[in-house]
Symmetry: C2
Subunit: 283 residues, 2 copies
């Protein structure tokens, strides 16, 4: 297992060393890939946009018929305690809720709640300056509004992404694009409208924040986006908790516009970073 020296995790109702955080093989995540999770960022030792992530976590649980064993207040207390114990200024916290120990390997038991915290590396300035290439793949996630643990297709495509010299894979169905395995997708049209797919996507917290930031200056739209729309777009980018905003300069074999990161993309990133820093510093 990865090096976990000193880190602590929450499991079986208590905070303990990560290296001793184990689940019995009867757990429904191992037996049937059944579970949900969420993931938020800690900056300067403080969670950013925590309320949004917690709300989505409980919503995902509900969509998958799982009961979170702690109330939101109890969960916030545990998170706070774990963040203090681990003392990682820039990090990511992952909350996993599994289908629990199953008596017959299929029917859910009492859900197991696991909370992990790991140091976080943000994209380098070089990645932001150069932008990334992505590939496309025909696929729609099961139950897109729920953040389930199922990444079968995304992980299976890792080698294909690497072989293409790409950084990620954008899902589409019949040419209508949706999302990446772990990120949302945006384009900026030639007349400066900031557009993101509306259907069959996870409602990302960064997606929501970027829409809010963009709305101050640009027209925004949540609607169907096609591969043809991308070919006509001025800019394209992805959003996620860990990547914030990354410019996309190539989709399969086609450059996005002039093949360079766009000015609207970079402007939105600067404003997102400013917003995160403001929140992390608030008392």
């Amino acid at each position: 297992m990865p090096s976990t020296a000193k880190l602590h995790a929450y499991i079986h109702g208590q905070i303990q060393p990560l290296e001793s955080a184990f689940l019995h093989v009867s757990d429904l995540s191992i037996q049937r890939g059944y579970g949900i999770f969420d993931y938020f960022k800690v900056q300067q030792g403080r969670p950013v946009f925590l309320a949004d992530y917690l709300s989505r976590f409980y919503k995902s649980a509900q969509l998958m018929e799982l009961r979170v064993p702690l109330s939101i207040n109890e969960l916030e207390d545990v998170l706070q305690e774990l963040i203090v114990v681990n003392n990682l200024p820039l990090s990511g916290v992952k909350m996993i809720l599994t289908g629990g120990y199953s008596a017959n390997g299929y029917d859910p038991g009492e859900p197991n709640l696991i909370i992990l915290q790991q140091p976080l590396t943000l994209p380098t300035q070089e990645m932001i300056n150069q932008g990334i290439k992505i590939i496309t793949h025909e696929f729609v996630r099961e139950i897109p509004r729920a953040k389930t643990i199922n990444y079968s297709t995304g992980i299976r495509l890792i080698k294909q992404i690497q072989a293409a010299g790409a950084a990620d894979v954008l899902y589409h169905q019949n040419g209508v694009v949706t999302e990446f395995p772990r990120c949302n997708f945006f384009i900026v049209t030639m007349d400066d409208v900031v557009v993101t797919p509306a259907e069959d996507v996870l409602l990302g917290v960064t997606r929501k924040n970027v829409l809010e930031i963009a709305r101050h200056k640009y027209k925004t739209e949540e609607r169907a986006v096609t591969l043809e729309d991308i070919a006509q777009a001025k800019e394209a980018f992805l959003t996620s908790t860990t990547k914030r905003i990354l410019p996309i300069v190539q989709v399969d074999d086609q450059a996005v516009s002039d093949g360079k990161p766009g000015t609207v993309t970079r402007e939105l990133l600067q404003e997102l970073i400013a917003l995160e820093n403001k929140l992390a510093l608030q008392v």
Copy 2:
């Protein structure tokens, strides 16, 4: 966790008590629902159709870019040893191969191989005599030819199946049916053709055996089957390793034919049982 007294499992390269079979939470099954498995039956202490199940297990691993850490011969030796240790005459053996302990919670590590054995209960004679009701749901499994551990949709529908007084859920897309979460589907047409869906299904071992048995006496077809075909069918049934053959007498609100188990279905079941018993008794 479920009662596991006396049972043993194979994990981390050795046979040990099931109650101490744990995976670290960095395993990719827990983090990302990433893994494959297979499951075969033991009758009179002997595996039935083992070669088919092992072949599919390695095939699923290949489809999901996972390497089984044992050769087929080595795996057979471990299975034999486990079956002797557990000494369960009628049972099921499950082999799970996960994406392994992941350093970053996304990229696969060295796959973890877990082998579990549990007592098996076959369907009661009453279920066979009465037949079962099923419901339908629009869905196609990801990577249908691979037996992945992902059962998000099937397990999420458990309550809906129960609320409908049904025993299982048949997936379809635009009215073209495929399979159940854990079983294959067959109809018998009015002119006694035994038909099963060809595309987007797991290639079940019982499905294969039933096709072979049926071929001796009936015309068989692997082709697209629609909900309309079911409405016109004389009989319908499901097949699986644990259920063998179960007659289906109702689909949603519609009876199959006269709403009673069909004679071809019952005949195929008797021949399948005879074949299994013959194999289990062979030296």
